[in-house]
Amino acid sequence: MALAARSYPGPLANRHAELSLKLAGAGVGWLDTLRADSAARYRATGLPTPKVEAWRYTNLKDLVGIDFASAPVVGDMALDSLPRASLLAVNGHVLAFVNGRLRPDLSTLDTLPAGVTLLPLSEAIHSDEQALSAHLGRLVEAEENPFVDLNTALMEDGVVLRLADGAVLDKPLHIISVGAVADTPLAFFPRLLAVLGRDARATIFESHAGIGEGAYLSAMASEIVLGAGAHLEHYKLQNESQSAFHVANTRVTVEAGAVYDNFVLQIGSRLSRNEVHTALIGEGASCRLNGAYLGAGKQHLDSTTFIDHAVPVCASREVYKGVLDDQAHGVFQGKILVRRDAQQTDGHQLNRALLLSRQAEVNAKPELEIYADDVKCSHGATVGELADDQLFYLQARGIDRETARGLLIEAYVQEALDEIGNAEARLPFQRLVGGWLKSRKG
């Protein structure tokens, strides 16, 4: 093998031909082509090694060492109920997937308001084909991302949400993805397509969790198109089981005056990478990419973001905070590109990490690439430990060391949670963070 190999052979790369015949929608011409093209690209590129700059801090060697089977072929596990405690506690429309497959019995789709189409992907392929073929794969065709390609090649199910101009999704949509560990390590590829028309509004929650011990790979890909003046709140929990791999890619385009408001909490998995790319393509568009990651044991949690300020007068705000204990490893990569035309850009990025142990580690790579001259951009990055003077101050008031540490860690994470503007959405995250802190004690 070459010394500076830039790629690993991709899992499942050679099985596409055989698997594709069994996927939902097999035989639908444009979809077959889309899948086959993606599969070919994936086969050619493989998965990146740390020699590839964007993957410098996240090494996939453990992932590529596993012989994954594609979940749709093996079929889903018997699962009577959802692992509620591991999910965000929110009310709304629920689409639940087990190992990538829709479970109608665990889902609840209430009557939808006018102008709203909400379907499982496996159904939309047939009943909403025109809209689907117009959008699916469009946001990702320009880039070569092997995980997106792998998803496109093998996607089996997922969610299609379309809102007509001015439509409002009455209740939040909760997408639940559960990895149920089987005898063979499974890989599954949920897909989300959300297209919001002019001035449409929606809230999406995602909960990713697992049941059982053992490896699986959850590799979701999402394409989100926000028309002028649209508003999407998108909240995600990554709480996969401890031996799982989670690699998710989200691509968003934001038209004039539209708002993409995103928060991601990562607490689960053995290795995860959550990658969000947002392109602000209409004047006055804005995005908020916020998140928190809490790692312990040997977890590896990667948050990678890219914000493309393509046109003038757009705003982006980004706050990520991490807490790492034991030998956990955190990665934050945040690139902000301000193109030549994007005058009066307002960009703010902050990422902070708190290390609770000597062996915990974080790699932070903020990257500002600015070609316009009239911009207001700031970024800050800090890595620190709990402050001795704060601990002493609390202890001097009679609060024991463990409780004092808990208070300070909670306060630290709270700063990121406060970025969730919607108080109702903040609560379920707070509960999970509290649970994480409790599990750390003793």
Binding site: D388, D389, Q390, F392, Y393, L394, Q395, A396, R397, G398, I399, D400, R401, T403, A404, L407, L408, E410, A411, Y412, Q414, E415
Partner: protein
């Protein structure tokens, strides 16, 4: 029995000897003052009493009710009834003042085997104490000391003392940075807490505070030792002569 007995106390900070043999006995209900030039070891003494890490006692002892506290953690000392009003109160972003106060109260209750304080009762108790000190509801909601003015921070320290009702309180330069009105509010707050069971050690650089909190005894700390002790008139003498001769040149 004396409430506090400090005997031949030697302490180092980062291996550097700072306290070089301090003896001090404080009876219940009395207020002692410690004055001294900057760098003489006043704050070091307060940290050593409170049990701060990195402040190592190399000789001597500190007794509370006749029992050594040196093996106790800072939080255990606080539960036992010690309190330190910090010279530089620490800012704790993200922790609301009320959350902090409640955690401190509950720590005490837990140690006493009592249930956690009822939220309504706690707020009611807090309101009574805040009135005297001019601490607003808004200050209670804010994160501990974050964005507080110098005076607000010091009032917040005294509020904590009022809530926690310690048996022995060390007030480290609670007057520094206060204008005369703020000083009076703080002094009133402190005086309201004087009682036959409660003792205080008031650390100050200036005599001014002692016009408002009148001490039973005054000590002068210089270069890690108590070099003079007397009644409240000693403070006035120092006001006239300054600390010349105590290790700090007189201001030009």
């Amino acid at each position: 029995m004396s409430l506090i007995e400090i005997k031949n106390l030697h302490a180092t900070v980062d291996g550097k000897p700072i306290l070089k043999g301090i003896d001090l006995t404080i009876e219940p209900g009395t207020v002692h003052a410690i004055m001294g030039p900057n760098g003489s070891g006043k704050s070091t003494l307060s940290y050593v009493i409170a049990g701060r890490e990195g402040y190592e006692v190399t000789d001597g002892d500190i007794l509370l009710d006749g029992k050594s506290i040196l093996e106790m953690e800072a939080d255990e000392r606080a539960i036992a009834g010690l309190f330190l009003a910090f010279q530089y109160p620490v800012e704790i972003p993200g922790v609301a003042n009320t959350t902090f106060l409640k955690a401190a109260v509950n720590a005490r209750r837990k140690a006493a085997g009592e249930p956690e304080v009822d939220a309504m009762q706690f707020l009611k108790m807090l309101r009574e104490k805040t009135k005297l000190l001019g601490v607003t509801d808004e200050m209670l909601k804010r994160a501990v000391n974050v964005g507080f003015s110098g005076g607000e921070k010091k009032r917040n320290e005294i509020l904590q003392m009022a809530v926690l009702e310690p048996r022995f309180a060390v007030l480290d330069e609670t007057d520094s940075g206060l204008d005369i009105d703020a000083l009076k509010i703080v002094a009133d707050g402190v005086n309201a807490l004087r009682s036959p069971e409660r003792s205080m050690l008031v650390i100050t650089h200036y005599q001014r505070l002692l016009d408002y909190i009148v001490p039973d005894k005054v000590h002068v700390l210089a270069m890690g030792r108590i070099v003079a002790s007397g009644g409240k008139e000693l403070a006035q003498e120092l006001e006239a002569t300054g600390y010349a001769g105590y290790g700090e040149p007189e201001a030009a």
